[in-house]
Amino acid sequence: MQLPPYSMKKHIALVGLLAIALSACQPAGQGGGTIKLGYIGPLTGDAASYGKDTLNGVLFAVEELNAAGGINGKKVEVIAEDGKCTGADSASAAQKLVNVDNVSAIIGGQCSGETLAAAPIAEAGKVVLISPFSSSPDITQAGEYIFRDYPSDALKTKAIARFFAEKGYKKVALITENTDFASAFRTSLTKDLGEDAIVFDEMVDPGTKDFRTLMTRLKKVEFDVFFPNAQTDAVMAAMLQQLREQKLAQPVVSHDVGDSLTLPEIAKDAVEGMYVINVPAFGEGTGFEAKVIQTYGKPQATIAIVAHAYDATMVVADAMKAGAMNGTAIKDALAALTNHVGIIGDFHFDVNGDVVGVGYVVKQHQGGKIVKVQELSLDAPSATATGATVEDGSGAVMEKEPGAAMEKKPASAMEKKGDAMEKAASSK
């Protein structure tokens, strides 16, 4: 086929124009006076509320840094990419951040699938990736450059198993949304509860909202407790509503996803009384919350996610302030960190980059609010043992005045506990 000559010229002109337009989009350039931080999270889609909150946490931290003169005199700039809670989108976001933008570090992803997909790219580019919200046990082994200030589900399912034992729940009905986070959670929970304890175990397509027939079947099953293992609150709300519509009155226990104030808004009565086992409501009722609300409005999910993202940003910023300016130096600084005082309390990272120092609490949905009902110890069987009081003390203080006036707990006790758990988790 012959192209008329003018069309060729036109093409060249177009390509030229495009190149100019593209180069105009490039930020000031590497040598400029800014430090670039990447962000990956679900800014659109069903999980967008987590994306919004965590991005606000990062932006809030950066605003504070810049107001105080930036990092070593350089202003910090955030380049936010939409991971859409999927591996594919997150991987291309990571490619861009690592290879095009040359960011110093990445805060994200939020959904575990995002983090797992971005991890190899960050690892290959020697860029630190720190997730504020991913909890899949798989991330523990994701790489040297991969950190998180959110605890692994390997610990959480142990805590849940403890809570079930305390309450005497023996038969568990479980419905899982087929995503990286939820299915890893299912595996971990099944391991800790024992396969026989799961009397109903179904996995549905991501985004399913019609659980009526599953609930109809569930009616014929004898179970003590229902566990809605959903990736998003939209799906969890549908599960809960349809459970209660079938007059199934069993107690419900859920994980992080249940820790959302959107739930009572869309499923009022159905969510009432549901237990949530999660990290404490860090930042709630503090000056931090007040400032965040003033700047960005009420958090879409919870203030705790904002706090995790804020701390993840600050811990990286601190490493850079101390002179670690490239990926490898930041990685070494984070690995060597002994204590960071953040909104979520005192924490540091273990050899796998998992956070040490964040415990769990049991919360409950009560009249449209999420109320803390008890601490959850990961130590020896009896809940009133000394281990529990350590967490009680710090937990209580943290809720009132996070970051400030925390008694200096010797991190060693917590650390050992964390390490032991990690070993247990990785030695499967």
Binding site: R217, D233, A237, E245, I266
Partner: protein, 292 residues
């Protein structure tokens, strides 16, 4: 029994959307791929009127329907009418573009969070063999009423005759004095109205989230294709059939031995459709030229 009720609930919703879609396709020959978004706009508008503006449900629901109708009017006059005379497939592209614009607008206007028009758990009736909520009964009743009304209009009124005339032959209809373009607009608005009703029902029965649009469109098209392109009753029947298959897939202990894992719930009915199309490529209910 409960399975049948479940299928009736899901099927009514799908039938509302697929029926309107099939009508548009049968008469205009145009694919409207922004239909899922129209569903959401109707639902979100009703949510906004109820939960943000605080209007009673009796006003919020008509409000949502009007929003859907206005949107589909705009869809027709801006994204379909200027194009479909040039080539029948052009609106395929323009409505995809519209769908993307609407996806963005929905997030911008209503936020990313899931929303529910009614927050309370529904009042559930226990009918012995099955349970159903008042809202669900109303949906099923409403759908059947709409369908009956529609059938009556199509076959027993002058308007219906004009509609059928246009469906059979545009130009011929025009030459005997039927204003075809005006009817086309009306059909698109009607389908948008039905879609908005579907959206409002989703908002009442479950919850609305901005990502629902595309899966809804796909499901509606599955019903339209399986029912025989352009055959409204076929599309409606297939909407119910797909819903029933979905419920049976996971709800029955097959051969008394095992349950199909719930992850296959959406897959098996679609496989069934492929199977039907292999045997009967014109669709399950294709019955010749007659519309409706």
């Amino acid at each position: 029994m409960q399975l049948l009720v479940n299928a009736l609930i899901a099927g009514s919703l799908a039938a509302l959307i697929a029926g309107g879609l099939s009508l548009v396709f049968g008469i205009l020959g145009v694919y409207n791929l922004a239909l899922g978004q129209t569903v959401l706009v109707g639902g979100f508008a009703a949510w906004w009127l109820r939960q943000v503006a605080g209007l009673p449900l009796a006003l919020a629901i008509p409000g949502g329907i009007v929003a859907g109708a206005l949107l589909s009017w705009l869809t027709f006059d801006v994204f379909i009418r200027p194009f479909y005379r040039r080539h029948i497939r052009l609106p395929l592209v323009t409505t995809i573009a519209l769908g993307m614009i609407l996806d963005g607008l929905i997030i911008l206007l209503f936020g990313e969070r899931p929303r529910a028009i009614l927050r309370e758990t529904k009042r559930v009736f226990d009918a012995g063999a099955f349970q159903i909520s008042l809202e669900q009964m109303m949906l099923i009743g409403f759908t059947l009423l709409i369908l009956a009304l529609f059938g009556w209009t199509l076959h027993h009124t002058a308007f219906g005759r004009r509609l059928r005339a246009v469906a059979q032959h545009d130009h011929a209809a025009l030459s005997v004095g039927v204003d075809a373009p005006r009817l086309h607009r009306l059909i698109v608005v009607l389908s948008g109205t039905l879609a908005a009703c579907g959206g409002i029902f989703i908002g009442i029965d479950q919850n609305l989230s901005p990502t629902l649009a595309f899966p809804l469109t796909i499901k509606a098209y599955a019903a339209v294709i399986a029912g025989g392109l352009g055959n409204v009753w076929g599309a409606i029947a297939c909407a119910f059939l797909i819903a029933l298959l979905e419920q049976l897939t996971v709800g029955i202990r097959w051969f008394g031995r095992f349950y199909v894992p719930a992850g296959y719930q959406a897959t098996i009915p679609l496989l069934f459709i492929i199977f039907i199309l292999l045997i009967k490529p014109s669709g399950l209910f294709q019955s010749g030229r007659r519309l409706g």
